[in-house]
C-alpha cells in the first residue's frame, strides 16, 4: 500500500506493476507482485542495476531447482524479492519504462527552464 500522505504521480505501468513518484518525500514507489516498496532516488537506480545484472541465461541453463529463482534484498527497504525468471523479465520491463520516464521528465524540465535566448 502506497503511503496515504504521499503526493504521488504514476510514472509507468505494465500489467505486472507500476512505479510512482512521490514529490513530497522525494522517492519512488514500486508496486510489484502484490506489494509496494519505497526507494530513495539513488536506491531505486541501484536496484534497477541489480535487477539488470541478474544472469537470466544462467538461470535457464542451470538444471538445479535453486537456480529457478533469485533473491534480491535491497538495502533500506523491508522487502525481500523472490524472483522467478518471468518475474525478473517483468520487473525489468517495468523498471526500464520507469527509468525512461524519469529521464524524459528531466529532459522536459530542462527544456521548460531554458531561457528563450538559449534556444536560439
Amino acid at each position: 500500500m502506497v503511503c496515504p500522505l504521499a503526493n504521488f504521480e504514476e510514472l509507468y505501468r505494465t500489467d505486472h506493476g507500476a512505479v510512482y513518484q512521490c514529490s513530497r518525500q522525494n522517492c519512488y514507489w514500486l508496486e510489484f507482485a502484490g506489494d509496494t516498496t519505497a526507494f530513495k532516488v539513488g536506491d531505486f537506480l541501484s536496484f534497477k542495476k541489480k535487477i539488470d545484472a541478474i544472469d537470466v541465461s544462467a538461470m535457464i541453463i542451470n538444471p538445479s531447482r535453486t537456480a529457478d529463482f533469485t533473491i534480491v534484498m535491497p538495502f533500506r527497504t523491508p522487502r525481500c524479492f523472490v524472483l522467478y525468471i518471468n518475474d525478473v523479465l517483468n520487473l525489468r520491463e517495468l523498471l526500464n519504462g520507469a527509468k525512461f520516464m524519469i529521464e524524459l521528465n528531466s529532459v522536459v524540465n530542462e527544456c521548460l527552464k531554458r531561457t528563450p535566448h538559449s534556444l536560439v
Binding site: 504521480e9 513518484q21 514529490s23 522525494n26 522517492c27 519512488y28 532516488v41 539513488g42 537506480l45 541501484s46 524519469i102 529521464e103 521528465n105 528531466s106 524540465n109 530542462e110
Partner: protein, 174 residues
C-alpha cells in the same frame, strides 16, 4: 512533475559510468607503478624504484580527484577492484616501455571522455578533465624521454646504472 533525478545528481548516467571506469584505470596505473617500483628495488635500481613509487602516489591522487568529483556532483563513485597486477617484468627497459604504453592508454581514455562530454553537452565535466589532459602531456613526455636515454646512454657496461641515476632528473618544463 518535480525532477527528482536532477535533485539527486547533476551527472548524466553515461558520464558517471565513464568516470567510474576511469577511476579504475587510475587505480590500476597506481598498482602497476607500485609493482614496477618493487621490481626495480629488487633488481637494484634504487632511483627508478623511488621514481615509480612517486608515480604510483600521483596516480592515486588522480584517482581520488576523479572519485571526489563524481561524489561532489551527486553521483556515486565506486571503489574499484584491481586484479592482475604483474609482480615480474622482463627487463629494465621493458618496464619503461610498459609505462609509456600505460600513459598512452590513459590519454586515449581521457580523449574518449572529452568526446563523450561534448556529445552529451556536459561542459562542466569537460572543463574538469582539461587538467588531466594537460597532465598527460607531461606523463607521456617523461616516459618517452626515459626510453630515449636507453638509446643515448646504451645498456652495456655501467649503462643501466647510469640510466637509473638519471631517471629522477627527467622532468617536463612545459
Amino acid at each position: 512533475m518535480k525532477d527528482l533525478l536532477r535533485l539527486k545528481t547533476s551527472l548524466n548516467e553515461e558520464i558517471e559510468n565513464i568516470l567510474n571506469a576511469q577511476i579504475k584505470v587510475e587505480a590500476h596505473s597506481s598498482s602497476i607503478y607500485l609493482a614496477m617500483s618493487s621490481w626495480c628495488d629488487d633488481q637494484g635500481y634504487d632511483f627508478s624504484a623511488g621514481f615509480f613509487a612517486k608515480q604510483s602516489e600521483e596516480e592515486r591522487k588522480h584517482m581520488m580527484k576523479l572519485f571526489n568529483y563524481v561524489n561532489d556532483r551527486g553521483g556515486k563513485a565506486i571503489s574499484p577492484e584491481i586484479v592482475n597486477i604483474p609482480a615480474d617484468f622482463e627487463s629494465f627497459r621493458s618496464v619503461f616501455e610498459q609505462m609509456l604504453e600505460q600513459e598512452m592508454y590513459v590519454t586515449q581514455q581521457f580523449n574518449h571522455i572529452a568526446e563523450k562530454c561534448i556529445k552529451l553537452k556536459d561542459f562542466v565535466t569537460f572543463q574538469f578533465i582539461q587538467w588531466f589532459l594537460e597532465e598527460q602531456i607531461e606523463e607521456e613526455y617523461v616516459a618517452r624521454r626515459i626510453l630515449e636515454m636507453f638509446d643515448v646512454i646504451g645498456e652495456e657496461g655501467i649503462g643501466r646504472w647510469e640510466i637509473d641515476k638519471h631517471i629522477p632528473k627527467v622532468s617536463y618544463e612545459g
